[in-house]
Symmetry: C2
Subunit: 402 residues, 2 copies
Amino acid sequence: MLPSREASIDVLDDAAVAALAGWLAHSVSGLSQRDGVTVRVGILGAGQLGQMLALAGIPLGMRFNFFSPTPSASAESVGSVMIGEYDDVAALREFARGVDVVTYEFENVSSEAVAEIEQICPVWPPRAALIASQDRGLEKQEFTRLGIPVAPYRLVDSLAGLEVAVRDVGVPGILKTRRFGYDGKGQVRITARSDAEAAWNALGPAALIYEGFVEFERELSVIAVRSSDGTTLCYPVAENHHRDGILRTSFAPADRLSDAKRHQAESYARALLGAFGYVGVFAIEMFDTASGLVANEMAPRVHNSGHWTIEGAETSQFENHVRAVCSLPLGDCAPVGHSAMFNLIAEHPDTARVLAIPDAHLHLYGKSERSGRKLGHVTIRSRTREDLQRHVDALRAIPHII
Amino acid sequence: MLPSREASIDVLDDAAVAALAGWLAHSVSGLSQRDGVTVRVGILGAGQLGQMLALAGIPLGMRFNFFSPTPSASAESVGSVMIGEYDDVAALREFARGVDVVTYEFENVSSEAVAEIEQICPVWPPRAALIASQDRGLEKQEFTRLGIPVAPYRLVDSLAGLEVAVRDVGVPGILKTRRFGYDGKGQVRITARSDAEAAWNALGPAALIYEGFVEFERELSVIAVRSSDGTTLCYPVAENHHRDGILRTSFAPADRLSDAKRHQAESYARALLGAFGYVGVFAIEMFDTASGLVANEMAPRVHNSGHWTIEGAETSQFENHVRAVCSLPLGDCAPVGHSAMFNLIAEHPDTARVLAIPDAHLHLYGKSERSGRKLGHVTIRSRTREDLQRHVDALRAIPHII
């Protein structure tokens, strides 16, 4: 299925990646360090991920330009924002001419736009990973090709196809758009075969995927980073809790994780990063099941379930991402203490109450309040699990923390 | 000596501090958190300390305006810089009108300028501490008044006075300008009574201070922070190494420090912070002698010997300073592992070589290379002292690290 796209992944693997690595190495090494600013990084998008990338990169001598369709209070505090549409090729080319390397903070940038930018400067992570992550169908096929277990699924592009898929995969299951779904949007649950028509009408006509349910104990994720020389490091696995399709909390390192499952998570990450010729930070969300870890989805970028690494790891995912895309050596991913990350959603808690909690670290994104919106996060990083639990309990007592 | 200035310290203690605290509490609480940006902080100065204050405060929802006589690549990446002279009252007033609270990143702002700003918005740390720290004579008198041991000294304002001072205090000793000396500038060593005239001609005519030598084993510093409600916390004592009057390295927590001396360092900080009605971060440099800790000088601001706290403490000195001046609760000052901080002076080391050292954290200030200039720092923060030593040895092998 979709062989031409899958082929394009392999083509990038072999040739373009090597060319881009050489190009970037030349570009960065051509800059003088004497003025203390080593590289200008362009970021497509200007949200909280961009803000945190810049906060990590500025101390390394990097400066940041953002490209976004709308002004952003998150990014404006740490760089300059160029306003433009992601399909405005002329604007993207102008943006690329002002920076040494481009990266992105979300995966819904069109690969055509990235191809345009690649004419001017290197773009990391590679387009192959972007393409696969934009399409749940391609993504699943890539997992399968690499021997990574996934939930049973069928690609669907008609009501008749959906009926066959529901029959083959069974119920319950979830019908999802293959493209542009995030934070639980573009998903409908199917609990009986008779739900198929309503589900198709809710999401179709469109390229969809029907996925069977996986019986799982909990959701996990692994954040990994690969440098331009192929060095790959993995952060400790995190345990994640979602509500209404939105990540609420992450705990890391995850409790009660066997070495076998930890190795499994890392092997999934290494297989994918190698296959994509990846450079940068990458995330895989997984289900923890009795028979092992089942991959759910991947993200070719820094990831919400890795925000705890700012305090909870020797080097944060943000710093390692900018190190990687700038061809610098990676930093250690080992944990520092025990961490719990809480997303701040829809409403801000009282800043003073949060900061009064021992071991609490507040990260606000400068965004105005709105239903379902991620406004910030709090990480509690403690020496012991007992301290962590006590401070987490105190944090949970504050209004608007969930 | 100089009783009117000393009196002004007490006046600020009693009345103005309380008034300003109320004013600030009102100002901050009057802002809505709903847009995710809680307070706009004005910083006098736009160097690396300002940059690191902003990097710490942006995640707390703060935004930063800097006031500086010259453009600054350090600060421009994290806020807007208003260009103006420190004695341009109209410019300072305009600057103050655009922010909720003002602080400063160095102590050579005139207290008259601060008084002008206080007409418009609160300024922390308090003017009393600024005044004392600007004059080595006042500073020594304040230490003595609070029972804090200092080197023997005499204030000097003539060659005849210097000759008397050298006779009373003895040689060797150091003649220093009372005002505007930093990083070893404005200092002349006197090793024989016959050196007095040459020393006077080198620095005079000016208000000077002649200080006797203290026999010490090593130099230490303590960073403390006091919040607007009077809560005072101290970071672990650091051991500092200077060369040519410039700080080169800090190790924290300092090795082989008795509990008695640690308590002594903390008691000096608490006495001074209380006397000044202080709000913000404060540093005292001390000599470690056989008979106890002897105070050398203080700084009413975040301090180079506290840069290790970014990685090496639960909450950095920069975050605690902005928390304090914005009337927010302070964060824990406990150490995280063992830290060593190396200043990068005059020339940049190779970024990739630094980042290849395990546990190394690089902080560049965006400044161009110049003799004697602090361009950045590297902190190594390790789990064990053995790891720290090994990584420090590796760092020292890199050119331009001293």
